[in-house]
């Protein structure tokens, strides 16, 4: 921290906290939430942990990249990044790919009535295949979804300082909110959504009451795939597109889904936000906020330069500990999911 920090007003620290703490948590939480909704739907309806979900995000982001390269020169369209405008294509392609993967790899195992854990293992196989394909065609380097350019930045003046939000971040937060609302109406109002909830609650009862399990499974994969593609594309727009994007993100997503309660889409959204905020606050340097209090504190309390709960390089520990804590104290998650055993 520079010395300038000490001399300045508390407003600066507060805005710094909003930028680096609240907004950063909201952004990463949105990505986790979008992923966790898919994971929790698959978990609730098909009853297995889908390890390839992170790679579905990567695939979606790469489809968006290909679309951008094919249809535009990477310029923005109507003021929005081309990747965002073309994202529906990527979502559709990934949704189809997800259905295809289910047909090719998981459905035969389900028909053979294997133990659920065998399907989990098969999803790890699928994960490795996707990773291999992405790296084969895209290399191991980093890609930019936005060709050549500075991102549009929104500045909101607050207490004489600016709250800073880049355009991709705003799109990400907005899209997540919209997706949450749309999902809510889909699950509570539409026929298919109600059927999905019924299958999630009791597959046998749903089958005998005439619900087509196959179409429910297809719808589940379509939603999960589309949301994963959106999350991958938006995350790649915010930072960069890397082939190993997925592997680091799968653990927080699982943590979010389990915290929220398996099979509970709202729980997954809340869990994603919880994991995102906890992760950000755990690595946040709290001394920035405590510094302004120094004049009022007695002399023997000296606020150190850095008060963070977890060093940044151990960030992955945070979702893991949330996961462990939930598994120990409340295995059903905050929203009382069902599938515990």
């Amino acid at each position: 921290m520079e010395a300038g920090f000490l001399a300045s007003l508390p407003a600066q620290e507060l805005v710094f906290f909003i930028n680096r703490g609240l907004l950063a948590g909201l952004i990463i939480g949105s990505v986790y939430a979008l992923g966790a909704v898919g994971v929790t739907l698959i978990f609730g309806i098909l009853r297995f942990a889908h390890f390839a979900h992170g790679d579905m995000m990567t695939i979606g982001a790469f489809v968006a990249l290909v679309c951008v390269a094919l249809f535009t020169g990477g310029e923005s369209i109507a003021g929005l990044p081309a990747a965002f405008v073309l994202m529906p294509i990527a979502m559709a392609v990934t949704a189809l790919a997800a259905i295809g993967i289910d047909r090719g790899f998981y459905a035969p195992l389900r028909r053979a009535k294997v133990r659920p854990v065998v399907i989990v293992m098969s999803s790890i196989g699928v994960m490795l295949m996707m990773q291999g394909l992405v790296r084969l065609f895209a290399g191991t380097g980093t890609w930019q979804l936005e060709a050549g350019g500075a991102k549009t930045i929104y500045r909101l003046p607050l207490l004489g300082r600016d709250v800073i939000l880049t355009q991709p971040q705003a799109l990400l937060i907005g899209f997540t909110a919209l997706a949450a609302i749309a999902l809510h109406f889909f699950l509570t109002r539409s026929r298919m959504g109600k059927a999905m909830r019924a299958v999630s609650d009791n597959p046998d009862l749903a089958r005998v009451s005439g619900i087509s399990i196959d179409s429910v499974v297809r719808a589940t994969w379509a939603i999960a795939g589309a949301l994963a593609a959106a999350a991958g594309t938006l995350l790649a727009l915010d930072v960069t597109l890397k082939p190993d994007l997925a592997f680091n993100i799968i653990l927080p997503i699982f943590a979010a889904a389990i915290v929220g309660g398996i099979g509970q889409p709202y729980g997954a959204m809340a869990g994603g936000m919880l994991v995102g905020f906890t992760e950000t606050f755990a690595v946040f340097n709290w001394s920035v906020l405590l510094r302004p209090l120094q004049p009022w504190l007695p002399d023997f309390i000296d606020i150190p330069n850095r008060i963070a709960f977890v060093p940044t390089e151990y960030k992955i520990v945070v979702p893991f500990f949330i996961l462990i804590a939930v598994l120990i104290w409340r295995p059903t998650g905050i929203f009382k999911g069902r599938v515990v055993k």
């Binding site: 390890f51 035969p108 293992m121 196989g125 191991t140 151990y314 598994l327």
Partner: protein
Amino acid sequence: MSTLPRREIALFAGLAVLVALVFASMGAAYGTRMMVEASCYAIIGLGLTIQWGYAGLFNVGVMGFIALAAFVSLFVTYPVNGAFWDSDMPGQLGHALLAIAIGAAAVYAASQTHRLGLPKKWRTLLTLIVLAIAYLWAQSIFDPATAQVERGAGWVGGLGLPVWLGWVAGGAAAGALGWAMGRITLGLRADYMAIATLGISEIVKAFLKNADWLTRGTLTVSPIPWPVPTPQELGFVTSRAAYLSVTALLIVVIFVLLQRAWHSPWGRMMRAIRDNEVSAAAMGKDINRRRLEIFVLGNVLIGIGGAALVTFTSIFDPSAFVPLNHTFLIWVMVILGGAGNNLGTLFGVVLVYIIWTMSEPAALFLFGQIAQWGDALFDWKAPADFATRALQMRVFVIGLTITLVLRFAPNGLLPEKPVKYE
């Protein structure tokens, strides 16, 4: 059954021919190195096959257990670092460890205050507050101590004890970590265990990579002492053959013990739990305790194998542990060979490891050809990182093998044999 096990004989004969071919084409030094590595993987594979094949436990964190065991073994066997022990740093580090112990005791005390009549809600809040304060306090003592170690002596160094002790300690450490993981996840769905083990393996790696004061982090440690004379003293082939005899002896001992366990009432009980949890519970078996037992046992074997593997490479590099080589490759070996069949696991390990090592030059050759032909016929310029991409193809092949085996040959090449009691 007195009939000859034709399938086993045919498969192992084929494998012997393959090994002989590798020795003939790549030379004895290369061949022995490959066999030593395969034998270390075989110990790990046996550990995994009892977890998955005997008890149906899904451990995706093999890499973490290997890395932890490798580090503990290194710590026990590496020569003593005088620069560290002759200074006041051990005292400081001891002070820091004491602070951690006091903090832990304070948190435990706070978590027991409900016995003094404090409502549970307040107890939880108090515990969390004490935890946060204790954590920050211990951290504020620990960080300077470790930073001083890094500045002064570089790192802690080892204990300079014999290698076999290191391997035992490595196995014990992996088993202890497995015990902690098992306590948390074994009562829940199998999926949770997969997620939790995947997480712990990444955390172990992150810790080993960043705790420079303890492991030297990315600076790596070498040479790790060997249990047998090193190549400098005996030459490559002889020393590697000596190492191979050590690991082969270990495999024989472990194999015999596991076979005995498989046929014993204990093994029968494990299979009963795996195949029908409810009826096993109805027969009065303590399912979670038995699973914990076999999970810990499997992790001890994984740890010993991992310690042997890293000792053989003679360099400890935390970044070299990757899930592909140290988790999924072993999974392919186990399920391809036949989970629950120890002989099948040994076969799968050697076969897959030969294919794995040979696939590197093969993939490079294949992609080199593709690049040449593409250039010649279509005027297509291969990207600069084409060679590294060729190796990524192996990730795809590993994944494809897992999915295909699970679908078309779920029992592997040498399936588990149902034990018949007559």
